[in-house]
Every structure is written in C-alpha cells, then in structure tokens.
C-alpha cells in the first residue's frame, strides 16, 4: 500500500518535462497502472515527472481528416467527447469501457498506450484504427504507426526519453461501421479478449475491414487474415464466420487463471464474429 520514496516534479512546460525524462525521470500521466504498481513496490522509479498538469497535452481536435488527441486526455474525456463519438465511435466506445468510472476520470490515452498492457482495451482499437502515435523526446519527434508500436508485453517502440505526445486516429466516413467487443476479466476489468472492428461497406460489399485484437497475445495485433477474408464479400453470416475463424491462427495465446489459451482463442473467434456483425449492422 505504500510506495518507496521518489522525487517529484510537475513541470510547467513539455520541454522541461522532456529534459527531466531524458535524464531518467519516469513520466506519470494518470497513474492508473503505475501508482498501484508502486504501492505494491513492483515499481520504484526514482523520479516522477507529472505530465498531468501540462495543458498543452490535453486536447481533442480535428485536423486534416483525422482526430488528434493529446496524451493526457482522459478516457472519460475521450468517451464523452461529441467529436470522438461522432467521428471515431470505435475509440469512444473503447474508452467508455476501460476500467471503471473513477479510473476513466484519471487514466489517460497516452499513458495507457505507452504502458502497453497486453490486456488493455485501447491497443485493440489503435490497431483497428491504424492509429499513429507522435513520440516526442527532448530533441526528437517522430510518428509511429500502431502496427509498429506495440512490440511485446509492456514493451513499445518508445525509446528512452520519449513519451507518447499525441494519438492520431482517422475520422470515419459514412460507410464505416465499428464495434468493440470485450470479454471482461471480472476482477480487474481488463480484457480477457477484446476485439475492435471497423468495416467499410459500400453498395453491399465490404471494401475493407480492420480487426484489432487485445488480451490474446503478448501484445495487441491486427488480424490481417480476417480482414483479407472479408474484403470483397457482402458480409453475410457465413462469410463473417469463415473470415473470423482465423483470428487466432498462429498466435501463441496467453493462458492464466481467468482463461486458458485454448478458450481464449475460441473466445477470440466468437467475439470477432459478434464484433463484425455488430459493426456491419452499423454500416450504411
């Protein structure tokens, strides 16, 4: 219940924050994962750099056909934003199911993405949305696609000294239907399996589909085989079932107290079907 001692800085500017982080400071955003780990003494950073007060990291805006979301925007702000709900409903739906109301009030999109918990909700949506992350260090800034960002359990493409500054997700056009389907680990609220789906259907044919999967593997991934199987079809029940059947192929699935690997894989298939059908029902 009691963290070890540390130094704490709440910088006034992002530049100042990045300087300290470059020197080994650990960024603190909402703290919803980091603080419990510190309380259990599973994490003991020497220096916390609180990004929570940086107003210029807290925003949601539409720019150039995409939504740009600042790293410290909370799940609650994402879930309740009219802009996100209207233009990127998959992200709003996903954000609305993270943790619980109190966690959503504090937890941030940047923090969650950077933490890369293999059972977190956001990464599934990020994969399906082909989100981009603006990674910023003291002297650098680069943009990395979600597909290249999530590398392993709690491991991302972030280099030492870098933070996730912004998340960029597409604005959906009228042809797209989306859905996030989650099997909840009832104790922790994380996903046993989470399937995020986007489908573009025009004139009765699926133009493209995107499927992001969390909870199943060491990190969230895009199920491209499912996507390929759907493209060009009309999205009938059989087509959906056939396409979804391969969602876990080749995956070394997680296995724990809450679900065996075999069951997780099975759930992934079932919930991919359900997510696809729900998303299809939302296409025009």
């Amino acid at each position: 219940m009691i963290p070890q001692t540390f130094e704490y800085t709440a910088p006034k500017t992002l530049e100042e924050a990045l300087q300290i982080i470059a020197g080994g400071g650990k960024p603190l955003s909402g703290g919803m994962s980091l603080i419990p780990m510190m309380k259990l003494r599973l994490a003991a950073p020497d220096h916390l750099v609180d990004l929570g007060r940086l107003k210029d990291l807290h925003y949601i805006r539409e720019e150039g056909g995409a939504l740009h979301i600042g790293a410290t925007t909370t799940h609650q702000d994402v879930a309740s934003s009219a802009l996100v709900r209207g233009k990127c409903p998959l992200l709003a739906q996903t954000a609305g199911g993270v943790g619980d109301p109190q966690v959503r009030n504090r937890g941030t999109i940047g923090g969650s993405v950077a933490h890369a918990d293999p059972s977190a909700d956001y990464p599934a949506a990020m994969q399906a949305l082909e989100a981009k992350f603006v990674l910023k260090g003291a002297k650098s800034e680069r943009t990395v696609a979600a597909a290249d960002f999530f590398l392993d359990t709690f491991l991302t493409a972030l280099e030492p000294g870098e933070i996730v500054r912004e998340v960029i997700v597409p604005v959906e056009d009228g042809s797209t239907g989306t859905h996030y389907e989650k099997v909840v680990q009832k104790a922790s609220g994380f996903a046993v399996v989470g399937i995020a789906v986007r489908i573009s259907r025009k004139a009765g044919k699926i133009v493209w589909a995107r499927v992001g999967v969390t909870g199943l593997a060491n990190h969230a991934y895009r199920a491209t085989a499912v996507e390929k199987g759907l493209a060009g079809t009309s999205g009938g029940a059989t087509e959906v079932q056939n396409a979804a059947a391969v969602v876990a192929d080749g995956i070394e699935a997680n296995s724990d107290l809450h679900a065996s690997a075999e069951y997780r894989k099975h759930l992934a298939v079932v919930h991919t079907i359900r997510a696809l059908l729900a998303a299809l029902a939302r296409t025009a």
Partner: protein
C-alpha cells in the same frame, strides 16, 4: 388527573430506516483506522513468502537502525505469548502450537515472522523491507486430498499423515438403507475455498496504561468479550485489566469471529514500548492471512426408492483446514454433518470427516459456516437423484419434505428441528416464477438447442447459536436495560453487530415493550468496559438470542416500573402501557419519567425493592432455530462462450417473525450476492507450491453491481417456538439457499447434454468445455474406494 393514552404505534415489523446510518452516510463513523492517540506508533508485519520453510537466519539490524523505528520484534521475542487459540475440541484433535510470530518454521505464505514498529506507516514499511531472512524452503502441499495421500510433504513434521482429526457420525441403519435401495446415486462435490473479504480489513490499536495496569485494545472483531478472555490469556494479563473496544466494524462474515496473532502481538508491543500502537491489515495480508471459508471435498452417496423416497445418505468430507486451527476451524465441517439431511425425512445417515492440514491459511467460519456446504451437497444430490429417476425436482422435494405435523422433528444427525412448513416457500416461489410456464418454454427452447435452466433449492439452516452445550464458549446472550432518572433508556447488548442493524431492531423491541418513543432509546455494544459479558454476532444469532435476552430484561424492568408506578399511585390495580402506569380504579397515572426519577430519588421505596431502574438478563436458548426457504434461479447459457445469464432470481425465505423488513431484505440480498459469488466467480486458488494465485482483488473476483441480478425477495412466516419473539435469524440464509439453486439451474440447462454436476465456481470456460462435450464429470469410481 386522568391522562388519555393513545395506543402507541408498534414498531416491530415496520420498515424503519436504520438509526446507525447517519454516521455511516456522513463519513463520521469511527473504524479502527480512524483512531488516533498521542504518540501512537505504527506496526508493519513481516511475513513468510514461502508456504513451507525454516528460517536459517534473520537480520533485523538495518531495520532496527532505520530512522523512526522504535523497535523490531521477532518470534524469539514473543515465544512466551500465546498460542493463538483453538476454541473447538474434538476427540483426538491434533493442535499444532500456533505462535504469534513464527520463531523457526513457517507453514503458509503470509505466516508472520517479525514486526516493525515505527513513527508512521510509511517508515515502518520502509524498515520492514530492510529485514533480511535466509530461508530453507521445504516441500509444501496446498490441496487437501493430496495432503492426505501417501508421500505428501508433512505440513507439521510430527504428523506425517497430515490428518488433524477424523470424525464419524451415524444415525439409523445406513447399511440396511443402502442394501434395500432401488437406486443409489453418487457424486463428488466440492465447495471451494473462498476469501471472506470484509471491506474493512482487520486492524488493531493497543494502548497500555502502565500506571493503571490497563491494556485497551481496539479491534475490528465480531466477538469483543471472547477476544478479551482469550487475549488476556495469551498475554498473561488479568482479564479485568484488558478492555476490548470494537468501534465501527466494516463487515465480518465470520472472518472476524476469531482471535488472531495480531491482537496479542499489538498488546505485546504496546506493553513492551509503553506507547499506543496501530496495525492495519493490507488487503494482500487480508487475502493471505485472514481465514478463508469452505474448502470442502465431499463424497456423497444417496440411497432411494423407485418413487423417489430418500432412504439413506453417506457423506465423506475432506476438509481443507489450512496449516493451523484458528478459533473454530475444526468445528466447521461438523456443522455440515449436522445439516446433511437438509429438509428431508431421512432416518439413516453416515458421515465421516477427515480434517486435512495444508500449507495454506486456515479455513474457519465464513457466512453460513458449514451449512452452505451441507445444503449445497444435499440439494445437488436431490437434483441428481431426480434426474436419475426422471422426476421433477419439485416433486421429489415435496415427496421427501419433513411434514408440518412432524415438528418438533428429531433428525438422524441428532438435532431437533423446531418448526416448519417446507412446502410453503417452495410453492410461493414457484408461483412467483411461473414454474409451469417456464418449463413449457424450456421444452420449446430445447427443441431449438437453446440452453435454459430452472434451478431450485429448498434449504434449511441452523441459526441462533445456540444452546451452550452445543456452542464453544457458550451460546447464550446478554442484555442490560437501564433507565436514567430522566426516563431515557439505554440498551446494552452483549452481541456486537457490525452492519446487521441491531441499533435499530433492538430499539424497536425496546420501544414497543416500554411503549416509548424510539428516539428515547440508545443501543450500545462492543465495549467490554461498558457492556456486560456477551458472546457476539455470528451464526445468525444476534436477534434471535440477543434480542430475546433484551426482551426478558425488558420484562424484568417493566415489572419494576409497574410495581413502582403502582406504589407511587398507591394503587393495587395498575397497568403499564404507552410508557405510563395508570391506576385502573382512579385513572391517575405516572409517566415513566416520573417513575424513573422517583426510583433514583428513593424517598420512598416499595417493600423489598431496590432503588434504580436497571435490569440485566442472560438468556440461554433451549434449542437452535431452523429457518428454511426456497430459491429459484432461471438462467440462460450462451452455448458459444459458456456465459451464464441470470434471467430471474427468486428468494422466498422463512425466518420467522420479521422485526424490520427493510433490514431483512438487505440481509437476503447480501447473502445471495455471496452465494452467487461462490457459485459463479469466487475461488481462492493456491498453486502447487502454496502461493495464493488470487492474492489481490485483481484476480479474486468479487460480485459487483453490474454482475448481480435483480433479486425478487419474499417471505413466508412460521414463527419459532424457541424464543418469544418468534424470530429465527436471516444473516446467512441468502448464502445458504443460493449456491445450489444457481448450480442446479445451470446443470438443468446443460442436462440435455448429459451433464449431471458442475463444481463451483461455474466459470464460462468450465461451461464451454461441458458444452463442447469434454467430460468434466467427477470420477465416480474413486468414491467407492473412499466410502
């Protein structure tokens, strides 16, 4: 002057909101962690990370030198304190010496080995991390069946078979019943380990007043007086020098019906250092070190006639005791044996218990304590028998129920059921749920391959513990009622409620009996310096036993009020009503306030009458009470995922007379939540090495609001003759009735697939595997070898 007294409104039976709530809803209640004292120190306990190990060496020097640390104590320092008491006695029971800090060998993960005392909890925790221990890790066993198998590592080296006791009980002629049976059904049924998880963890503040030779112990407990007796013994302190106070207690469910190492340890520390000390259990410690519940592996055999008449029951219980006996550990499975026939008229029973030591935290009383296991077993077996005979589960129950005219009914296990009409709640519940229609719907669904289940349990339980010969430490309860010179009333109850609402219900009883305003009554409890000796709140006893003690204390007091009032009125024919004594001849009257004032002023006293208005009553019940009821669960199963959806939950409970329906409903709802928790989600999982895998709320699934169904609750009322209030107890009913109804519902849903039994918790994966046709049926053959 004649006074017109309106008949006062009776409060018993009214849906009154609780009188304890204002402090709870404003955050001003005082729980143990809210207590602060000048100079108070804070303790953190160092615990074993291993399930079985010896301490090769321990270096506490860095911790002791850490700034802010007042002292570090280890098992060597506390060897003479204790042991942690086991309050139950069974013939031949093996009782390991339970040190408050392990001096050499540890037996479960979380076993305390040292305590660090410092100026605040942050410093104490930092210092605790500086203690270095070199462990010699030994082999551990965490499964009770494995523990009693050949070659298992001995938990306690002096008892290599890991058997703490065996217990045998028999009634009637079982062999004959089984020899003459038309059908015998067998099943292995487990009742998994559960973590009670009171929202407030345990906590202790100890304050030693050396000059007065007085130890004040503030503890979150269900049993302040028993704790006082036992902790005084552990510390070698005279009992009258120890005061135990239970401030607000944030839930217990049996987990605080105990005396733990920490109470004596904090007393020891406070006495050594001469300063007050506080210890608050972390949630992880709570999961690792506070008792768990259940932990049964049961082997059942039921013999019956073709028509469904149950003629005999055999039961072997393998009880996972954990590494030690806490207060009631070995006694809990004996309660299961007592209740093994359930509501059914079976004359022939045979039960055996093997108490198995494991390298786990001890099991002990958890909501229901032995009765949920028994009810789960018999209610499952009745359904299994019904399935075998292709009978409706309602029909087989009605056929075997003890009948209304059979009471008082002597059971094959030696109990005497007080009263009942078991078909009443069942029929009411069937009506509420629309049973016939649901069965028709189910038949239609089955044609389409859909899985829908209707599960019934008709439970009975033992409540109102109990007659003293059958209850460790005594089964009576006490009450004192005192009326101040101003006429205001204080009730002191020996039971120590912690959420059950007795500050309200006991005031209701007193208000009705005395005919006064409830706002003139204060109910006190939980302080051994204020309240006369009492037993405590557990076993659904507080109202039935403590309330009855209060009732009789009030009768004594009413007699004195009436006598005194008549004396003041110089009347030989007076009546006490509405808080006023009235002369029936003249109509003249004296108010309670006037009478109370006069009893203390004592200018004139009736012959052979002492001044003052105070009465104490210790009430010893002649029997337990035996509430009963029927729960029905309608569930739908998702074939693809194994997910269970509860469509309807019906609970019809007969707990006798109801003092406050609002509170009774709350007890039922909470009980059902814990029953569903067991049926669907909760399980304390130890791995092979004795590590608790579900060691935090991140992995131990607790029921949350969105997981709970709407509970349709109703009652039938069959008052018990055991006490004059006619109340039986309801705190555990929901839990006891729930789990078999839930499991029966899911088994019913899966029965077209040939499923006959499912062990708890019924996780979606388990259900999915059953649907897949992977047999999870328990190995019936093994039972034959055991029974």
């Amino acid at each position: 002057m004649a006074t017109t007294i309106a008949k006062p409104e009776l409060l018993v039976g009214k849906r009154l909101r609780r009188r304890e709530d204002p402090r709870l809803i404003t955050g001003t209640a005082t729980y143990v962690d809210d207590i602060k004292m000048p100079g108070m120190l804070y303790a953190v306990i160092v615990r074993s990370p291993h399930a079985a190990a010896s301490i090769k060496s321990m270096d506490v020097s860095k911790a002791a030198q850490h700034p802010g640390v007042a002292a570090v104590f280890t098992g060597k320092d506390t060897e003479k304190v204790g042991p942690v008491p086991c309050g139950s006695s069974l013939p031949g029971l093996r009782v390991p010496h339970h040190y408050i800090l392990a001096p050499e060998r540890v037996y479960f993960v979380g076993h305390p080995v040292a305590v660090v005392v410092a100026t605040d909890r942050y410093v104490a925790k930092d210092a605790a991390d500086l203690i270095e221990i070199d462990w010699d890790v030994r082999g551990a066993v965490a499964d009770p069946e494995k523990a009693i198998a050949d070659g298992a590592p001995p938990v306690h080296p002096q008892w290599p078979d890991n058997k703490a006791f065996t217990h045998h009980q028999e009634g009637g002629d079982v062999d004959k019943a089984f020899a003459e049976a038309d059908v015998i059904v067998k099943q292995r049924i487990t009742s998994q380990r559960l973590i009670p998880t009171a929202m407030e963890t345990r906590g202790v503040v100890a304050e030693w007043r050396a000059a007065d030779r007085q130890l004040n112990l503030y503890s979150s407990t269900q049993i302040p007086h028993l704790m006082r007796s036992l902790v005084a013994q552990m510390l070698g302190l005279e009992e009258n020098r120890l005061r135990v106070v239970t401030p607000e207690v944030g839930g217990g469910f049996g987990s605080k019906l105990n005396v733990y190492a920490e109470e004596a340890l904090m007393g020891f520390v406070a006495m050594k250092l001469g300063k007050p000390v506080k210890w608050i259990e972390s949630r992880r410690e709570n999961f690792l070190c506070t008792i768990h519940g259940r932990g049964h592996v049961d082997y059942y055999e039921v013999a019956a006639k073709k028509d469904g008449t149950i003629t005999g029951i055999k039961l072997l219980i393998i009880q996972d005791l954990g590494a030690y006996h806490q207060l009631l550990t070995p006694a809990i499975p004996t309660l299961s044996v007592l209740m093994m026939p359930g509501l059914y008229k079976t004359a022939n029973i045979r039960a055996d218990i093997i108490g198995a030591f494991t390298n786990c935290v001890p099991t002990d009383a958890y909501r229901g304590a032995g009765r949920p296991e028994a009810t789960h077993g018999i209610e499952r077996m009745v359904d299994i028998l019904a399935a075998e005979l292709k009978m409706d589960p309602v029909e087989i129950r009605l056929k075997n129920f003890i009948q209304k005219e059979d009471f008082p009914f002597p059971t094959a296990t030696g109990l005497t059921y007080d009263t009942g009409d078991y078909s009443l709640p069942l029929k009411k519940a069937l009506g509420m749920v629309g049973y016939e229609k649901l069965r028709a719907e189910q038949a239609e669904k089955r044609k389409k391959g859909e899985l829908m289940g209707i599960g019934i349990s008709t439970y009975g339980e033992i409540c109102a513990f109990g007659p003293s010969p059958a209850t460790p430490a005594g089964g009576w309860e006490s009450a004192t009622v005192k009326i101040d010179p101003s006429g205001k009333v204080t009730v002191m109850t020996g039971c120590s409620p912690h959420g059950q609402g007795e500050e309200t219900t006991f005031a209701q009883i007193a208000a009705d009996e005395l005919g006064i305003d409830i706002d003139d009554i204060l109910v006190l409890h939980g302080d051994t310096a204020i309240v006369q000796y009492g037993i405590g709140t557990f076993g659904s006893r507080a109202t039935a036993v403590g309330g009855t003690a209060l009732y009789f204390a009030l009768q004594d007091l009413k007699a004195k009020i009436k006598k005194f009032g008549a004396f003041l009125l110089e009347s030989d024919d007076a009546t006490l009503a509405g808080g006023v004594v009235t002369c029936n001849k003249t109509g003249a009257s004296k108010t309670l306030q006037e009478i109370a004032g006069a009893t203390y002023r004592a200018m004139k006293l009736p012959a052979n009458t002492e001044p003052g208005l105070i009465a104490t009553h210790f009430w010893e019940p002649t029997n337990f009470t035996f509430p009963f009821g029927a729960h029905i669960v309608v569930s739908d199963i998702d074939r693809e995922t194994g997910g269970i959806t509860i469509r309807r939950y019906i609970a019809v409970d007969d707990c006798g007379n109801i003092l406050n329906p609002l509170i009774v409903d709350g007890q039922v709802h909470g009980g059902v939540a814990q029953g569903l928790g067991q049926a669907l989600w909760e399980e304390a999982v130890y791995d092979e090495s004795g590590q608790l895998v579900t060691g935090e709320m991140t992995d131990y699934v607790l029921p949350r609001a969105h997981m709970m169904p709407w509970i349709e609750s109703d009652h039938t009322t069959t008052p018990t003759p055991v006490n004059p209030l006619g109340v039986k107890g309801v705190g555990e009913a929901g839990t006891i009735g729930c789990s078999p109804a839930m499991v029966n519902s899911v088994v019913d849903a899966l029965s077209p697939l040939g499923v006959r039994h499912i062990d708890m918790p019924m996780t979606p994966e388990k259900i999915w595997r059953l649907v897949q046709g992977a047999s999870s049926q328990e190995p019936v053959a093994r039972m034959g070898e055991r029974l």
